[in-house]
């Protein structure tokens, strides 16, 4: 296939990924957040497949398959099952910024990263795809952090974290070294499993603020010790 066409398709798919991140900054429906995450991982695997068509390294195919199995099906199914057992469907409150303001802040983040990395654009080679993937990967990282900061419910924060790691994968596909990539993937997936288990323990309904309530009984403990 024409390599220019391929590059354009990849650019479109990467833009699609970041669009999904930005949409999830302002979505309130939990199921649609999970669906967006799985769609985003699917697009990521499509990007990896397109690179495979060009570079013909078999390891890329394995990575793409691994991504599809774990991120597009396994993790979302797990999340949806836990969500069904809780009674919560929406995440309505925002911490600092409202939904529209968060979108403009993500635009600001993207713009700042664009300019910060403009200086090293020439060193990344003639293909502008490397530069795009750095910018988009890093902005997915920061927008994921924005999701974690700006939303209250834990499930949304987990989705933000998962999107952050998608951004890391995007970064490392174009720039990083390959064997390291698989290790990173497995490590991060383990961490996510840990996070989900903790959600199962505390309950999906909880926000970070509710932890104070849960830790309240222990306060009396300390009081009695200090009074003696």
């Amino acid at each position: 296939m024409n390599s220019l066409l391929l590059a354009d398709l990849q650019k479109i798919l990467i833009v699609g990924m970041i669009l999904l991140t930005v949409i999830s900054v302002s979505r309130r429906n939990l199921i649609s957040l999970i669906n967006m995450y799985s769609f985003q991982s699917f697009i990521l695997s499509l990007v990896i497949l397109l690179i495979f068509f060009e570079d013909k390294k078999i390891i890329l195919l394995y990575i793409a398959l691994l991504t599809i199995i774990s991120k597009c099906s396994f993790i979302p199914i797990l999340l949806k099952r836990t969500q069904k057992s809780m009674k919560i469907h929406v995440d309505l409150e925002y911490n600092l910024f409202g939904p529209t303001t968060s979108i403009f802040i993500s635009l600001l983040i993207f713009g700042m990263l664009f300019f910060l990395f403009l200086g090293i654009k020439e060193q990344l080679g003639a293909n502008s795809l490397n530069y795009i993937s750095i910018i988009f990967g890093m902005s997915m990282l920061f927008i994921g952090m924005l999701i974690i900061i700006a939303r209250k419910k834990i499930i949304t924060k987990i989705i933000g974290y998962l999107m952050m790691e998608n951004g890391v994968v995007l970064l490392s596909i174009f720039i990083g070294d390959l064997p390291l990539l698989i290790e990173i993937l497995i490590l991060i997936d383990l961490l996510v499993l840990l996070a989900i288990t903790s959600v199962l323990g505390f309950g999906m309904n909880s926000s970070v603020e509710n932890f104070h309530v849960k830790l309240n009984p222990f306060r009396k403990w300390f009081k009695r010790v200090s009074e003696e």
Partner: protein
């Protein structure tokens, strides 16, 4: 050519006469002196129009006036004559409007004073624009400020007028301070007083001059953040004066800015970016603050701030593109800015004058008490509608043409090389589009609530149409708005703006003719095909028999979607206090419910500065007045001795 100079001199003499005559007959009860003076004003304006057109076509005129030992030098070139055309057009219609408007004040003295001061104001503006000299510019600038201050304080009984007047006076003096600061530097550089090209300025000095000139002119023009005097001064002054101030005086500030900009040959990039950003912020914040206003004159004042922002956008584009040596695009943006200056003067004065007619008949400025005036005052309504369509930049009227030119320059932003500038231009373009769309929202609200539907108060029920002169004055401006819009392409061909034609400006005459053709075709077709019967009946009110005015949409309701969407800029606070007679809260005694929006610049910029100045001045007051007399004299004595020692001993 001598003929035209004679016309100019005759016009000036007519101006002076129109200032003096009402002052002579200041207590006479007849209106003859005022009518005579206004007729002379009108003739003088017509004369100035002829004169300026001749200057535009032929050559520059220079002349001097000797007054008490000072030589005032004047020179009228194309830029100055363009602004004199602007001034005389607006002054012409204000003059016609004032023939019956000035009769509405209480005392004869006030009426005569209004007419005399109006002529004085206009004359001082003409001389500011014509100045060639630092001293004459400053002299007539101060005359303009003082006469407008007296006009703003015209209704001095009301407390809000006093506050508006003092605020305006302070701001205009601060503007003069910045101008004098810049002039001192210019004087020391060229060692003379005339306007000549400032060659060989070092970059820091040039930036200093540029900055202080910008601040000085920005205060007078109403650029954010120096704009706060505008929404106080324009509503407080009489309507004809609001039209003059908003339509002409802030344009004279733009003239000053452009004149000094042309004198500074080596322009730096950040100047253009600064002006661009200032223009964008003014435009956006001006229209956003206008949307929440329900006082018709404050609404129009905020729209003036918005349009000054658009003019500064054009000037900023000119500066940026000429820095990067894109001569074509720079010329188009400069022409767009100048054309928008003319257009804004025309439609803003039109709006202020027709709003003045409405306010005069309704005795209130609050649009929530008006309504249904289109049937009682049809001509005023039509004039306001033409002004509203022009300011919302809808084709084929003139507001659209200047905004189209600015848009087309913006859409070529990709020719620049620096990425950061491209991003700034793109952001500026998006905010500019948002601004012009929000202006349309605001004027649907203004026109709809004032004129349409049914009357919301007793006054509105009994309103009547105004006198003939109060219709003819604005009508001249309305006709010019339509004319300048439809014939814009032909006018640009005559002026010789071949670049614009190559650039793709559409020929609005052809578009309008085809539109009229299609419209009449539709009308004739509908007459044959459609059912021509019509019936007048009640508005649908979900079954309620008679609708009354409280069911109509209010102005606050109309702007509610926008105020909610831009919540973070308005920051509305809801105050909801209730007090009850009993403890359980069942018998309501009294309460207060209020929505207040943040007055950002007033609370965070102006009040802190004024409080700081008050504190400093109270310390100085203490030093000057509370200290005893004898220690004060002793301190002076010691100061003189120290000074003598210094001069005599140290400097040998």
């Amino acid at each position: 050519m001598i003929f035209y100079v004679m016309i100019f001199q005759v016009s000036i003499i007519l101006f002076v006469l129109s200032i003096i005559i009402p002052l002579i007959f200041i207590n006479v009860k007849k209106s003859l002196s005022r009518t005579l003076s206004l007729v002379m004003l009108i003739l003088a304006c017509v004369g100035l129009l002829f004169f300026s057109f001749s200057v535009l076509m032929y050559e520059t005129i220079n002349f001097q006036i000797l007054l008490s030992g000072f030589t005032f030098k004047f020179s009228i070139d194309s830029l100055a004559s363009f602004f004199i055309i602007l001034i005389s057009l607006i002054a012409l219609s204000v003059g016609i409007y004032s023939i019956s408007y000035c009769e509405h004040f209480e005392s004869e003295i006030k009426k005569n004073l209004l007419v005399s001061l109006t002529s004085f104001f206009i004359l001082s503006m003409v001389f500011v624009v014509a100045s060639q000299d630092l001293i004459s510019f400053l002299f007539f600038w101060e005359l303009m400020s003082i006469s407008s201050f007296m006009l703003v304080m015209f209704d001095y009984d009301k407390p809000e007028t006093k506050k508006a007047g003092i605020f305006y006076f302070v701001m205009t003096q601060i503007s003069t301070i910045f101008l004098i600061f810049a002039f001192v530097f210019i004087y020391t550089h060229i060692n003379g007083l005339e306007f000549t090209q400032l060659e060989g300025l070092s970059a820091p000095v040039a930036s200093l001059i540029f900055l202080s000139l910008t601040v000085g002119f920005a205060i007078k023009a109403g650029v954010i953040p120096f704009h706060k005097w505008l929404p106080y001064a324009h509503p407080a002054s009489p309507s004809s004066i609001s039209a003059l101030m908003s339509g002409v005086m802030i344009k004279v500030a733009i003239y000053g800015f452009l004149r000094f900009l042309f004198l500074l040959p080596e322009q730096q990039l950040w100047w253009g970016i600064l002006i661009l950003i200032a223009g964008t912020v003014s435009a956006l914040l001006g229209v956003i603050y206008a949307l929440k206003e329900h006082d018709i004159k404050r609404l129009l004042a905020y729209h003036s701030i918005e349009n000054i922002g658009i003019i500064l956008l054009g000037v900023g584009l000119y500066m940026v593109f000429s820095f990067y040596q894109f001569g074509d695009l720079a010329m188009i943006s400069l022409f767009a800015a100048l054309f928008h200056t003319l257009n804004h003067a025309l439609f803003k004065s039109l709006l202020f004058l027709s709003a003045g007619s409405v306010v005069h008949k309704m005795h209130t400025k609050n649009i929530e008490e008006m309504g249904g005036l289109i049937k009682k005052m049809p001509y005023t309504a039509l004039l306001f509608l033409i002004g509203a369509i022009s300011i919302s930049a809808l084709p084929p009227f003139n507001g659209f043409v200047s905004e189209l030119m600015i848009f087309q320059v913006f859409l070529k932003f990709s020719v620049l090389s620096s990425p950061i500038i491209k991003i700034i231009l793109l952001l500026s373009l998006s905010l500019f589009a948002l601004t012009s769309a929000l202006a349309a929202v605001c004027f649907v609200k203004a026109f709809g609530i004032i004129f349409l539907a049914s009357p919301r108060s007793e006054e509105a029920e009994h309103a009547k149409e105004v006198n003939l002169s109060m219709i003819i004055g604005p009508a001249i401006l309305a006709i010019l708005c339509i004319f300048l819009g439809i014939f814009s392409y032909q006018i640009f061909q005559v002026i010789g703006l071949k670049i614009g034609i190559r650039f793709g400006l559409p020929n609005l005459l052809i578009v309008s003719t085809i539109a009229v053709f299609l419209g009449s075709l539709t009308y004739i077709l509908m007459k044959f095909v459609g059912n021509n019967k019509s019936r007048v009946t009640e508005t649908w009110g979900c079954g309620i028999n008679s609708q009354n005015a409280s069911m109509e949409y209010t102005a606050s309701g109309f702007s509610q979607p926008v105020t909610t969407i831009f919540k973070s800029i308005y920051q509305p606070k809801l105050v909801n206090q209730k007090s009850f007679y009993d403890q359980e809260g069942t018998f309501f005694k009294e309460g207060e419910a209020k929505v207040t929006m943040i007055k950002f610049f007033e609370e965070y910029l102006y009040m802190p500065i004024s409080r700081a100045i008050s504190q400093v001045s109270s310390i100085l007051y203490y030093l000057q007045n509370k200290v005893e007399l004898y220690p004060y004299i002793l301190a002076n004595f010691f100061a003189i001795i120290v000074l003598l020692l210094y001069l005599g001993v140290i400097i040998r």
